[in-house]
């Protein structure tokens, strides 16, 4: 039955406008990121050699992917909060229903996250040309592959977190607010903490796990296996909390 339920969940996501709206929003965020990169490259070209050495890396995924994560994660959240009836009359086995929603949302996250990361990489390569590091984060195109793969994985986990949050919070507004807080607001707020606490908090935030898993240059505290464990922890906590909440709840 599980493949039927997953096929139905895929059909549900395909047949509501919010899914395409969030994908368009993620594409718009990617385009905006490319525009910012273009402006950064213009400033780089106008700078002196000494100034160019102080430019930060122009990895567009740092700016773009938190927004992509939020928009794709929102698709997962709406798979459970978007309808008054989450589908329990057709699929009364609650854990199966939640697992199917998580699997489909995770797969969408993996594909969409990978696609937007790849688009960002291609756009950045075209814009950066043969400009040197540190502005150019990927002197060889193969250098970007781990980042694209890990970004897809982190976006997939974010989608599953969206499903779990939706199952716990039940409300679309509360779920999107929490997801936005986790992905977009917390990394900014972390900067206002003392350095030690900033690093401790920023290290475990979803958007900052990608460089820790790929082993790229980063200021955070986790080893690569440690970052993988934290990423897996997000998924496990979201699914267990969602299963407990949905399992105990009386549904209208």
């Amino acid at each position: 039955m599980s493949t039927d339920v997953m096929a139905a969940e895929w059909l549900k996501l395909r047949t509501v406008r919010s899914t395409s709206a969030f994908l368009v929003a993620a594409a718009a965020a990617t385009l905006l990121g490319m525009t910012l990169l273009f402006l950064l490259i213009q400033a780089f070209d106008a700078a002196t050699t000494a100034e160019q050495a102080n430019f930060e890396t122009a990895d567009p995924t740092v700016v773009i992917m938190p927004f992509v994560m939020f928009f794709i994660g929102a698709i997962g959240a709406l798979s459970i909060t978007g309808s008054p009836d989450p589908g329990l009359l057709a699929v009364p086995h609650r854990r199966l229903l939640l697992a199917s929603k998580a699997a489909v949302s995770g797969a969408i996250g993996l594909l969409a996250g990978g696609a937007f990361a790849l688009l960002s990489f291609i756009g950045a390569r075209l814009l950066l040309g043969d400009r040197p590091p540190p502005l150019n984060p990927w002197p060889e195109w193969t250098d970007a592959l781990p980042t694209i793969g890990c970004t897809a994985l982190v976006v997939a986990v974010t989608s599953v977190v969206g499903v779990g949050l939706g199952a716990v919070l039940r409300s679309t507004a509360a779920t999107l607010l929490t997801l936005g807080g986790l992905i977009l607001v917390a990394p900014t707020l972390a900067h206002f903490l003392p350095t030690v606490w900033h690093l401790r908090l920023a290290t475990v935030l979803l958007p900052n796990l990608t460089p820790q898993i790929t082993g790229a240059d980063h200021p955070y505290l986790l080893s690569r296996p440690g970052a993988v464990v934290v990423l897996a922890g997000y998924m496990i906590v979201a699914l267990v909390a969602g299963a407990l909440a949905l399992g105990r709840r009386d549904v209208s």
Binding site: M1, T15, G82, S83, P84, L89, A90, P92, D250, S252
Partner: protein, 231 residues
């Protein structure tokens, strides 16, 4: 066959069900009658595994609803006219349900025609009237050609033609040997539709009888039975 035994349910300090027991048999339309707040919807939601009972059991053909594999083949339910996603078309709403229970997609077209929604099949549910959404709920219930139908206030929002249509549909389904359990607080309508009545008040079964065996009108019988509770 629906069997409910000693069902209890409490919400906070409110006892919604207090040892409710009843059966609904195949081949007849069973009316589940009671005032608003009597416990009808709670009992139906427990029967359909949407709410958890504190104690007791509610079985359909000997199994709990959540133990039935692909339940839409066995049970069709109409609970809430607002259950469909407003942004999805009627066709896609039913197609999603059909896919989850491995029901042939041709049934979607069949039940849309059967419920008079063929012309609006590809319109979004958000633009439907309450009556159209009730018809869509019934279409969803009929999708798997089930042997048991559970309907909570199905005539709410329907016009006169719709009420007559649902009445004849339910009677025809029962005549085919299906179990039909229908909740209502409208006695005059129930009198025209049901064969057997269960009267519920304060979460308990107050009376049950065949409509044909009633010495007076269903409304009088109902008021007498519920009046006894009030006293």
């Amino acid at each position: 066959m629906i069997s409910v035994r000693d069902l209890t349910k409490t919400y906070g300090s409110t006892r919604a069900l207090d040892g409710l027991s009843f059966d609904a048999r195949p081949g007849v339309v069973t009316g589940f009658l009671g005032a608003n707040g009597a416990g009808k919807s709670t009992a139906l939601r427990i029967l359909l595994a949407l709410h958890h009972a504190d104690s007791g059991e509610a079985l359909i053909d000997g199994r709990r609803y959540d133990q039935i594999d692909r339940p839409l083949h066995t049970v069709g339910a109409v609970l809430d006219a607002g259950a469909a996603h407003p942004g999805r078309t009627a066709f896609h709403h039913l197609a999603c349900l059909a896919r989850s229970n491995r029901i042939d997609r041709s049934r979607v077209t069949t039940v849309l025609s059967q419920t008079g929604l063929a012309d609006v099949a590809h319109k979004r549910v958000g633009g439907f009237s309450l009556g159209m959404r009730q018809r869509l709920g019934l279409a969803a219930a009929l999708l798997g050609d089930p042997s048991v139908l559970v309907l909570d206030e199905p005539v709410n929002g329907l016009d006169a033609a719709g009420i007559r249509w649902i009445r004849s549909t339910l009677r025809a389904l029962a005549a085919e040997g299906r179990t039909v359990l229908l909740s209502s607080h409208l006695m005059s309508e129930a009198a025209l539709t049901v064969d057997h009545v269960l009267i519920i008040g304060e979460g308990r079964l107050l009376a049950e009888t065949s409509v044909a065996a009633l010495p007076r009108s269903l409304e009088d019988f109902y008021l007498t039975m519920t009046g006894e509770v009030a006293a």
